[in-house]
Amino acid sequence: MEPLLLSKRERRKLASQYAELCLTCGTCAGGCPVTGVDGLDVRKVVRLAVLGLDQEIIDSKFPWVCTMCGRCEHACPMNIDLLKLLRSARAMRDRDKVPGVLHKGVEMCLKTGNNVGIPEEDFKFLLEDLGAELAEELPGFEVPVDKKGAKYLFTINSKEPFAEPEDMMFWWRILYAAGESWTVASKNWEGVNWGLFTGDDEAMKEIVGRLVQNYKELECEYLVLPE
């Protein structure tokens, strides 16, 4: 193994000013369910960051098997911003090395308005069809699409229209029973933002911006991300 010359290390990017305060107490790693996976744990990640070994963290799978649950940060006696550290390590990965489908989902969302690429026509047809099905039980029910001035604008988790469409009816029943005025947008209705997971702030902002634009254009009072 090559010795690491601390005087020659690259400029640290991952360690925040707080990381220096780490006591190496291990409280963070002690309460983390993935401690030890990939030979790492969150306390070691802080050490690596303080030593400027950013690339080792970025290349490891630890930041991705970590669920960003925040338990470590909550328990840290020095209040070190561990989540930011872990998420930044995700952000610094080349996009083509983001594991699995996460980055593809982000790209799909930017391109089509939802993570799985459901075309607008199919989406509207599905809502109409399912709405009619529910109306057999709840007379007068329909799914209001692009209804201007509705009180609540609901986003939808794309996995539902994609794989579990009937699960959308739970909310619909509640809204019917409450007699509320609500709507769904025909475009950019995705309620899931995978930019959060991939560390992609720019994509995240764009996706949120589109929701806000819908909310403004439809003149709704509340924007609901129902999960």
Partner: protein, 136 residues
């Protein structure tokens, strides 16, 4: 609301994002609100331990449910599985898509508690409603 629909012992999973992370990010953790909603729908409620800010993640968060690290995700979930089984509850309310999928579709099978039903919080509400059909 008809509480008789859900008579079995019921427990609640605090999703990291509603609970601990919300407290840190927005200054308010949603701990009590979902418990209040839940208890309008069921009579028999039991907490898992630890809960609220100290609850354990289901193991499917942060994109893990959609990531290729399946083995690690299931390993992570062992803690959650134990928490749930220790309560003896037969119904688990998980008010987050990720948590619900991880627990219902993966952990139940991997850690052998298929006898525990899993519902979203809003599913629990929808299933408890007594709906008066509106006049057309």
């Amino acid at each position: 609301m008809d509480k008789s629909v859900h008579q079995e012992l019921t427990t609640y999973h605090d999703p990291c994002n509603y609970a601990r992370k919300s407290e840190r990010t927005f200054g308010h953790g949603y701990y009590e609100e979902p418990r209040w909603v839940l208890q309008q729908c069921c009579e028999n409620f039991v907490e898992m331990y630890p809960n609220r800010a100290n609850n354990f993640c289901c193991g499917g968060g942060g994109g893990a449910w959609a990531s290729p690290y399946t083995e690690e995700r299931i390993f992570y979930g062992r803690v959650k599985a134990k928490q749930i089984k220790d309560t003896g509850a037969k119904l688990l309310i998980a008010p987050c898509h990720n948590c619900r999928d991880q627990i219902m579709k993966s952990l139940r099978k991997e850690y052998d508690f298929m006898d525990v039903e899993v519902k979203y919080l809003w599913e629990l509400v929808a299933d408890s409603l007594i709906i008066e059909p509106r006049e057309e």
